[in-house]
Symmetry: C2
Subunit: 289 residues, 2 copies
């Protein structure tokens, strides 16, 4: 199967699992908004769960609820980041953001309930032993909270009113929380499910997450808003420092490329079984959205 | 120890556990807002965790992280409910609400991170076996999400724009989610920690939660805003149906009283060990805030 076909197949599996969860919810706007917020997107984080698990011998039938949990958590973070009080965005994955499609109260609640759903999905007995599931809960909490994604978003907001633009070290720290933490957890969760040492996957995902963010900054400057499905050039408009503004376009591209090579090197111990994760890493910097 | 002294002692234990969690967070406004949002209040839900556990032989040294988790989750729900897009409240526990003390973005993020913290606290090994901790995670998720608190808040918002006021059955369903679900989980968690049948505690807490809400509606009409530490008479101002508007003040008081007796009856199997929970039930309808 080609990489795009595999990515699409995994995304379909994840959506099916999420839809099963949404089908159990009461027929209210907040439930529909939750489902809406998970539709579309590449499901790169869910892919990392499914494929890191598969590489270590754990089938998608076992790992699927963890992949769905990671995508539910990612969707919650997008819904809240798009709110008027945060990034105030109108378009996400090519569709109106939740607070415009419904209203702010529904968007806040839908995000809240998607976070809850993420943790609920990790209690699914199909995922394995109670020990493994608890490790997933602890790992997701670490990636999500005030030491992970919330930290990154808080630093991002603080940067907007800072006297001077962030330095490269500060941007790297910000992104390690805002996008890096969940990407790292997604890749690690395969090792947790397989009860194996997570270190190589963590190292892979740390490099991958940073390359992903540099590629996002490059797309923000060079990309096509229609393909991206969201507003672009917003960092430059806001006067925010990015990897591109700090390094320049060419050096940023070179840095992303070398990070991807580094990420792939960390997968050497797994041999040919790592091919899907290697393809994913290369896709990360080649993508147009 | 008198009931008020016990309630205060348990509240102090819970705050100490929460403060230990906050101390590990980065020195940012969002971390300070999280801590601020948990200060004050009666800690009734945390008390129910500690005292239902103690009744079944589980000491606070074991149950404390579950009590702190329930209070962190409750604090998150208050921060988000107070937002301008939701109930738009300026005062909570006698202090400015988080979005006024800081700003809306910080309030959204602090609430988000408090929800995450709640789940993280439930992974604390001190709470017992992985099985018990996973049951707590699953129970908190059920109480918190689109089948629990979020459902209740969504029904409450829908009621504001409904053509006719809610009926008694509808208000009861709304409150079973909005306040009942977490109170029920708090009391049940003692049984989960003690690995005992949760049914009597669940029945106790179901009656208690409804009585609590009726008492809140009575306080909203008859209470003193200074003692309550929040805006009162807001349901009447919003033209919302409440237990008082539907039943009248006297019948509402009688209903709350009979629910408390029912709640206490469910504790009969535990004998004198249930005294703290019985005192708590009686306090629920006698309180002034």
């Amino acid at each position: 199967m080609s990489f795009p076909a595999l990515l699409a197949a995994d995304a379909a599996l994840i959506q099916t699992r999420l839809n099963a969860a949404f089908a159990a919810l009461p027929d209210l706007p907040v439930s529909h908004a939750m489902a809406y917020a998970t539709v579309g997107g590449k499901r790169l984080r869910g892919f990392l769960v499914l494929e890191s698990a598969r590489m270590l011998g754990v089938a998608p039938t076992t790992s699927i609820s963890a992949a769905a949990a990671v995508e539910a958590l990612h969707a919650y973070s997008l819904v809240h980041d798009d709110l008027p009080a945060m990034d105030d965005d109108a378009l996400r994955r090519g569709q109106p953001t939740v607070h415009l499609k419904w209203d702010e109260a529904t968007a806040i609640l839908a995000g809240d309930a998607l976070q809850t759903l993420a943790f609920e999905l990790l209690t699914d007995p199909a995922l394995g032993t109670p020990e493994s599931r608890l490790k997933l809960v602890a790992g997701l909490a670490k990636a999500s909270g005030a030491e992970g994604m919330v930290l990154g978003q808080a630093l991002d907001i603080a940067a907007e009113s800072a006297a001077s633009p962030l330095t490269l070290d500060q941007i790297t720290a910000l992104q390690a929380g805002k996008t890096g933490a969940l990407i790292r957890f997604a890749a690690e969760s395969g090792a947790i499910l397989a009860e194996q040492n997570p270190r190589p996957l963590r190292a892979y995902a740390t490099a991958l997450g940073l390359a992903f963010q540099i590629a996002d900054d490059i797309l923000d400057v060079t990309g096509d808003a229609t393909k991206a499905g969201k507003r672009l050039q917003k960092d430059a408009a806001a006067g925010k420092a990015t990897f591109v503004s700090l390094l320049g376009l060419d050096a940023a591209r070179a840095r992303a490329k070398s990070l991807i090579e580094e990420a792939c090197d960390h997968l050497a111990p797994y041999g040919p079984a790592a091919q899907n994760l290697i393809d994913c890493a290369r896709f990360t910097i080649a993508r147009e959205s």
